[in-house]
């Protein structure tokens, strides 16, 4: 390899190969994991990334305060549990909950360590992929030309496409309007009057940072989130020496939440008391506290972890408006209850398009059917969260009903990658050129998922959340333990598939 080559270039001239056995879309945790796991299993993998660097959601989300809500001990690949020693310190994560720069550096390090650079091409966006039934390949159109692939893996992630609020005036506000996932590095909001729209995971992280800088901060809250103490703290160097122990311990602790979330939401009242005790401690004013007290079961919407969000709201310069955003007017935010506040900048912490992923509008299966259209009548569904009838040789990482509310998505991704690797192995052993799930298998799987979803707090907790799609179908989360998902995706069951042999 030429030494002058930039890390992510596959070939010196930047031309794409005409054919690859395995094509992966997206170089976040899932795409990098796919390159690592499938590459090690002997498959020739090419990862296409539309951005000019790797990292996915951890590259996009650069807003101040961005960090992971899953303990770092668990939020990493099992085959590379800790970052290597950096800047003179020992190996291991610096904090209990790593911040975005450390996670991005970790992913960079994994790519370098495992020699995945030559498998990843950045700056190439997949604009369309169509299954060619005659040639039995995926025909993929990119911003840098076309290519074909035997197997297509979507690793686009659930939290990748920002969902700005559908309100008038975003273009005519006259000042910066930033989505947290499209933060312009170097944005300085110090001394300005700033409005933050949204109090989900991003909002709760960005508010304490902006409260320190902004002259005035207006926080628009549609529904108050449940917030548990985060208890973030630096980790001593050397703890990284027992990463597997730390990982097992953290995994077990996180997994303890699952029975309550999925089977017995009433048990979550214990966690609610814990959350309310922190609210009482940090917000002495009973009026503000009333606005911050959720009216639904903890867990129904994503549970947030923070030690500094409530204290930020108590500051003299911060005002909580308990209302949705109605519109922006030049220099002014207007809330749905009619309240107006003059501000200089608007931060949209409004989350992502989760249940209608944009990639589904770019993939066409047999007979030219668009994945989004195939899903429209039923909501997103995929056999074992991974494969879809009518879309041969397509694998969806972090697919329908694989999301985790209580533990690490990296664990889920690794479960799915074992399944994909087993699928590729089975295809090779049996000389199958193409496989796709039978409609009956996909239907049975989806029915089982939806049946088990009924007892969950997401279905019964009395809230609207991004876990549900426009029709109220809970197509994002896995209704069970991460161990159960891992068992259910351990092996490809050939009875669930139809194969085309050579």
């Amino acid at each position: 390899m030429d030494a002058s080559q930039t890390p992510h270039d596959r070939t010196p001239h930047g031309a794409l190969p005409r054919h690859v056995p395995v094509l992966v879309i997206g170089a976040g945790f899932a795409g990098i994991g796919a390159a690592a796991v499938l590459g090690r299993a002997g498959y020739d993998v090419l990862v296409l990334e539309r951005a000019d660097g790797i990292g996915g959601t951890w590259r996009d989300n650069r807003y101040p305060g961005c960090a992971c809500d899953v303990p770092s001990a668990l939020y990493s690949f099992s085959f590379a549990p800790v970052p290597r020693a950096t800047t003179g310190g020992g190996a291991g994560w610096s904090r209990r909950f790593a911040a975005q720069p450390e996670i991005l550096a970790y992913l960079d390090d994994v790519v370098r360590r495992l020699g995945l650079r030559r498998s990843i091409r950045c700056g190439v966006e997949v604009v369309g992929a169509a299954w060619d039934e005659a040639a039995l390949v995926w025909r993929v159109t990119t911003g840098a030309g076309t290519l074909t692939a035997d197997v297509l893996i979507s690793a686009c992630g659930a939290l990748s496409e920002p969902a700005p609020p559908q309100v008038p005036g975003l273009d005519t506000f006259g000042g910066p309007v930033l989505h947290t996932a499209r933060w312009t590095p170097g944005t300085d909001l110090a001394g300005l009057r700033v409005a933050v729209v949204g109090t989900g995971a991003s909002g709760v992280q960005v508010v304490p940072e902006l409260a320190r800088q902004a002259a005035e901060l207006i926080v628009l809250q549609r529904t108050p989130p449940w917030i548990l103490p985060r208890r973030d703290r630096p980790l001593p160097h050397g703890l990284g020496r027992a990463p597997r122990l730390a990982r097992a311990w953290t995994y077990t602790r996180q997994e303890l939440f699952e029975p309550a979330l999925v089977h017995r939401p009433a048990l979550l009242a214990v966690a609610e008391r814990y959350a309310l005790a922190q609210l009482r401690r940090q917000v002495p004013d009973p009026g503000l506290r009333a606005l911050l007290t959720p009216g639904y079961r903890l867990g129904c919407k994503r549970v947030l972890l923070s030690d500094d969000y409530y204290p930020a709201l108590v500051r003299d310069t911060v005002e909580l408006l308990p209302s949705a955003l109605a519109r922006l007017e030049p220099g002014t935010v207007v809330a749905a209850d009619g309240t107006r506040r003059a501000v200089d900048a608007v931060v949209l912490a409004t989350g992502f398009r989760v249940t209608d992923p944009p990639i589904a509008h770019r993939i066409r299966g047999r007979d030219g059917v668009l994945l989004a259209d195939a899903w429209r009548p039923t909501g997103m569904q995929a056999l074992r969260g991974t494969t879809v009838t009518g879309f041969p040789n397509l694998f969806l990482l972090t697919g329908p009903n694989t999301g985790s509310a209580h533990t690490s998505m990296v664990h889920v991704i690794e479960s799915q990658l074992r399944y994909v690797r087993d699928a590729l192995d089975v295809m090779r052993e049996r000389d199958a050129v193409a496989i796709e799930p039978t409609p009956a298998a996909q239907r049975a799987w989806t029915e089982d998922v939806r049946r088990r979803m009924r007892s969950t707090v997401w279905a019964t907790g009395g809230c609207d959340s991004w876990y549900a799609d426009g029709e109220g179908r809970l197509t994002a989360l896995w209704p069970g333990s991460s161990l159960r998902l891992r068992r259910r995706t351990r092996r490809l069951d050939v009875r669930e598939y139809r194969a085309v042999r050579r």
Binding site: L276, P284, D285, P286, G287, L288, R289, A290, L291, T293, G295, D316, E319, L321, P322, S323, A335, D337, T339, R340
Partner: protein
């Protein structure tokens, strides 16, 4: 946690801003504009010791759609700045009110100014110190659950062997022992904060409320008091111990109504009767049966009705309905 009734939920003000008092204290002001009537009269609500603008929430719910409603955090309370050294005085509270009125009430605006407890004392001190502001900006006044003299001596917080008239906490003037115990109890905020929460709540309920208070009212009031910084608590406690605004009361020469709960232990009805008798322009004495000291919280209907009545009367006032104001 017991869910709070809807009228405890804060209303978002139309505007929020800060005014600066002559000694540098910054006062956080909230203005609620009524939806329609841009010509609506203005009501300014002034809260008492250890509370905050939040305290008025139930009254604001009842009047904000009808009159322009101004609430603010007294110095050292809520989101206003801490009290500067030497700033624990009725004169400073009066100056704060003057600054708020200057920012919210146009000349000739004839606002209703309603003070509760130490807030009413601020109104009385304002009358003594800012006669011009009183006549330019204030139309009528409501003095709720307050007194202007002998505060410690008349308090019925520490149980007494003497009994006053049946059903009221009026027990005459305290003897030296009760006076000393009361003074000591007010001087130090630390015991309250060190008590277990249920005991602190019980203490505050005994002091500030009557048996008729609902659990939500009790919890809300106790939380407000416990949110008050100890320095503010103690600084104003010292001021209240030796307060005498009788001379200022004589200068409050706009129509003024007095309101009191008959079970008020902190400022028993004795004060209300005495003030009503010595006001230059008394405009009624309202006694709320069975209510304790925190009338805007536990008797919001009576307080809101009084504010709206004063606003309406002032607006429709014909010269013969009120004794003409003396100017200068």
């Amino acid at each position: 946690m017991t869910a709070l009734p809807a009228d405890f939920r804060p209303l978002t003000p139309t505007r929020r801003f800060t005014v600066t008092s002559p000694d540098g204290a910054r006062i956080a002001v909230q203005v609620h504009e009524p939806d329609r009537d841009s010509d609506a009269p203005t009501a300014v609500l002034v809260h008492g010791w250890t509370l905050s603008a939040t305290f008025w929430v139930r009254v604001v719910h009842r009047i904000a759609g009808l009159v322009r409603t101004v609430v603010y955090d007294q110095r050292g309370h809520g989101r206003s700045s801490p009290v500067p050294d030497g700033g624990f005085t009725p004169a400073a509270l009066a100056d704060d009110l003057a600054a708020v009125l200057a920012a919210t009430v146009p000349d000739g605006g004839a606002a209703v100014v309603a003070g509760h407890s130490m807030g009413a004392m601020a109104v009385v001190a304002f009358a003594g110190r800012h006669a011009d502001g009183l006549h330019r900006q204030v139309g009528t006044v409501l003095l709720a659950s307050t007194g202007v003299e002998q505060l410690l001596g008349r308090m019925a917080v520490v149980p007494s062997l003497r009994r006053g008239p049946a059903g009221t906490p009026d027990a005459g003037t305290a003897g030296p022992v009760r006076l000393a115990v009361t003074r000591q109890a007010l001087r130090d905020a630390r015991p309250l904060h060190r008590m277990p929460l249920p005991l602190a709540r019980a203490t505050l309920v005994h002091t500030t409320m009557s048996r008729t208070a609902t659990p939500q009212e009790r919890a809300y009031a106790a939380d407000l008091v416990l949110a008050c910084p100890p320095r503010t608590y103690e600084g104003f406690a010292r001021m209240l111990a030796d307060l005498d605004l009788a001379a200022d009361l004589a200068r409050l020469d706009v129509p003024a109504r007095v309101l009191v709960g008959t079970a008020d232990r902190l400022t028993p009805p004795w004060h209300a009767r005495r003030m009503a008798a010595s006001l230059p322009h008394p405009a009624g004495l309202v006694q709320v049966a069975g209510a304790g000291h925190l009338t805007p919280l536990t008797a919001p209907d009576a307080v809101a009705a009084a504010v709206l009545d004063l606003a309406r009367r002032d607006r429709e006032a014909r010269p013969d309905q009120w004794v003409p104001r003396t100017h200068g």
